[in-house]
Symmetry: C2
Subunit: 420 residues, 2 copies
């Protein structure tokens, strides 16, 4: 099954926004085992939309459109689909009701053009929009499947996961059943991972093993074809066991998790509290941590000690360390972590100091990063990194490494009860 994605919106062609929808949908379809052959962006222009849709529906089985479902004259997506497939647009009562509710809830007056959003392609399955007004649609004609989704990611993403995926999965049962599992690795490059698993990858047919790299991580996607769920899982388990024996040191989680998500899960599970002291990351660690709900039980707080003065004042970094080693040093990182642990009275503290760039600092190159972690033992461990890339890539990688080291330390603490 071939799919392609058509994103509609002049703001994309003007470079005002990133097409995060295409990435999200591609990633989700990859998980479902559906191949994406093209991603296309077109403006709010009827002729070009018609031509692109026509081409897409000739060469692919599934065409997913994002955007152009809104109330204004610019929004042409469903009108164009209706025209190409010679189908009527009809009002959906439920959609109309929830659009009215949307305005009532917000105590706003509904203008007439908003009703347009309740028009759907006759015969289409409606995908409920719980985060906005325009409903999505799954429309089938001439053995083609046309899926229409709203443009704003905060509407599209939950609709995709909660409304569309179950529908697609139901349909996928008609063909060979596929079960997959993604293993996530950090601190090892794609080629290094591939080299170490070469024999296994080459000889393995069911499940297949596909390595992928991105965002400074490597993932392995195991895909098994088997009608029986239990047998599928046994096959996946067996292959995973072989992989873990070779590169298990770099493994950190399954499927759609992230390093920070794993950190949050572990902390919640162990009921350990954490605090942080940040210099070059400037609050990024705390911000990512608090992007998860319910972290108040494990996160005490954090200090962004950006200046030398604040490192001394808030975190009690000693004058000797600053004089001898500078603020870009392992000893400063350690004292920052110890300072945060004391200040926030947490079980664990993590600190980040370094050079985000673009200029050198204290004679050290951009990308020089020191991370320190202290647990209940009160002994701070230090980690040194030399990262490459832009200022924000360096900050982002530093936070990822911080999470990775935290996961490793927590694993160690759990296996040696005397420390924690």
């Amino acid at each position: 099954m071939r799919a392609e994605i058509l994103a509609v919106g002049s703001e994309l062609l003007l470079g005002q926004i990133l097409n995060t929808n295409a990435k999200f949908i591609s990633e989700q379809l990859a998980i479902l085992g559906i191949d994406v052959y093209y991603q296309t962006v077109i403006g709010d222009n009827e002729k070009r939309l018609y031509d692109s849709l026509n081409l897409a529906s000739q060469r692919s089985d599934i065409v997913i459109l994002t955007g152009g479902l809104g109330p204004t004259k610019d929004d042409l997506t469903k009108e164009t689909v209706a025209k190409l497939f010679q189908t009527k647009l009809v009002y959906d009562k439920n959609a109309l009701f929830s659009i009215e509710q949307y305005f009532i809830k917000r105590k706003m007056k509904m203008t007439e053009n908003n009703k347009k959003q309740a028009l759907i392609l006759e015969g289409a399955e409606v995908l409920v929009n719980r985060n906005g007004m325009a409903p999505g649609m799954l429309f089938k004609k001439d053995k083609k499947m046309i899926i229409l989704l709203p443009g704003p990611p905060k509407e599209m993403e939950p609709m995709f996961v909660k409304e569309l995926v179950p529908l697609l999965e139901k349909m996928l049962l008609n063909r060979g059943k596929i079960t997959s599992r993604v293993l996530r690795f950090f601190n090892i490059g794609e080629s290094a991972l591939e080299t170490r698993l070469e024999t296994l990858i080459d000889n393995q047919t069911n499940p297949t093993i596909a390595p992928l790299a991105g965002n400074g991580e490597v993932t392995l996607r195991l895909t098994v074809k088997h009608e029986d769920d239990g047998e599928a899982i046994r096959l996946l388990d067996a292959t995973e066991k072989e992989i873990q024996a070779i590169v298990g040191d770099y493994f950190y989680g399954y499927d759609q998790t992230s390093l920070m998500k794993q950190v949050v899960q572990q902390l919640k599970m162990e009921k350990w509290t954490i605090s942080c002291a940040e210099s070059l990351t400037g609050g990024m660690f705390a911000s990512e941590l608090t992007s998860f709900s319910g972290v108040s039980e494990i996160f005490s707080g954090g200090t962004v000690a950006y200046s030398t003065k604040e490192k001394e004042k808030q975190l009690q970094v000693s004058k000797e360390v600053i004089k001898q080693d500078g603020v870009v040093s392992e000893s400063c990182a350690k004292e920052m972590a110890l300072g945060a642990k004391k200040l926030y009275e947490s079980d664990i503290a993590i600190s980040f100091t370094g050079v985000a760039g673009p200029d050198k600092q204290e004679g050290k190159d951009p990308g020089t990063v020191y991370i320190s972690i202290v647990g209940k033992s009160g002994i701070a461990n230090g980690y040194t990194l030399s990262l490459h890339g832009s200022r924000n890539a360096i900050r982002d990688r530093a936070v990822k490494y911080g999470c990775y080291y935290l996961l490793n330390e927590m694993k160690r603490w759990k296996s040696s009860n005397d420390i924690f």
Copy 2:
């Protein structure tokens, strides 16, 4: 002149990376006044690349390809262009030399396949790659212009700006000259802005006025056609003046700026220092602020006081306020801002408290946000918001509103010297 962008790379179709190149190039071309009609992503597949390139070069004047210039068998871009336009690939001596230097500098052994990167389309102008090995190319044939750029953004972006833009500008002088200006607005919706400017937008022909919304902001793009630079700017100024008279209260900056960028610029200009106290935003304000280089001169530091205890301990929020109004309150926000200002001895402090969700807190709905700002006067101003969306959308919007209020307060302080 019509342009389109073809990004080549299976990792894009797998959703592993975002197509930031398409956004960057579209943005740059918009500045040059070149319209982008399509963005397409194709995998590392010769046939589909050939077909897409064929279609693109039929319907557009300029086709910009990114990716597929590397040393491996997967990299097919220039080979496919050569095939379609029946052109030879020849070694470029300078490119070959700099590839060899690349390896010498890094003390690495050069493998034979790296030489492939020095092959260029016969007759093409070479775009030097100062951040990687594969050179870019500008190739003209049959009145079409085909531009080949490397895939990694850190190679592509500087090549685009430093090598390609001067070449394109030279060519563009031959046609009608376009000058444009983007005005950015916050705290007003797209339809509200459009309604208030309706007569102006409808009657205005040179410059034209195009409204666009995205990321919770609205922009107006003014585009003027005039051969004379001075006259073009006078026309833009006159139209902008009319717009500012109607919706100037919501205006915050020009072109590629952002709310936080404006905050940083203003602080640097006035040499004012800032600190922050964050609860629901959890470090996001500090993290965004420190994403800009050189902020150490204006940013003292910040405290993420996530728990009630830390609000009391670090920021000296009083027990009375917590008991009477709770931590999700205007009075708590004010005390947090005052506490941060005192703790960090900064000129200005900003605080954020509220309910990020998904659950209610202290009986208040997700999206309830209190922001407070205190300047030299020592009097804290409070702002209350009811935001909608996911946990992270609420946090993100809260930070944007914080920046917007900061800009307004700074404007006020500057115009009334007695306060600051």
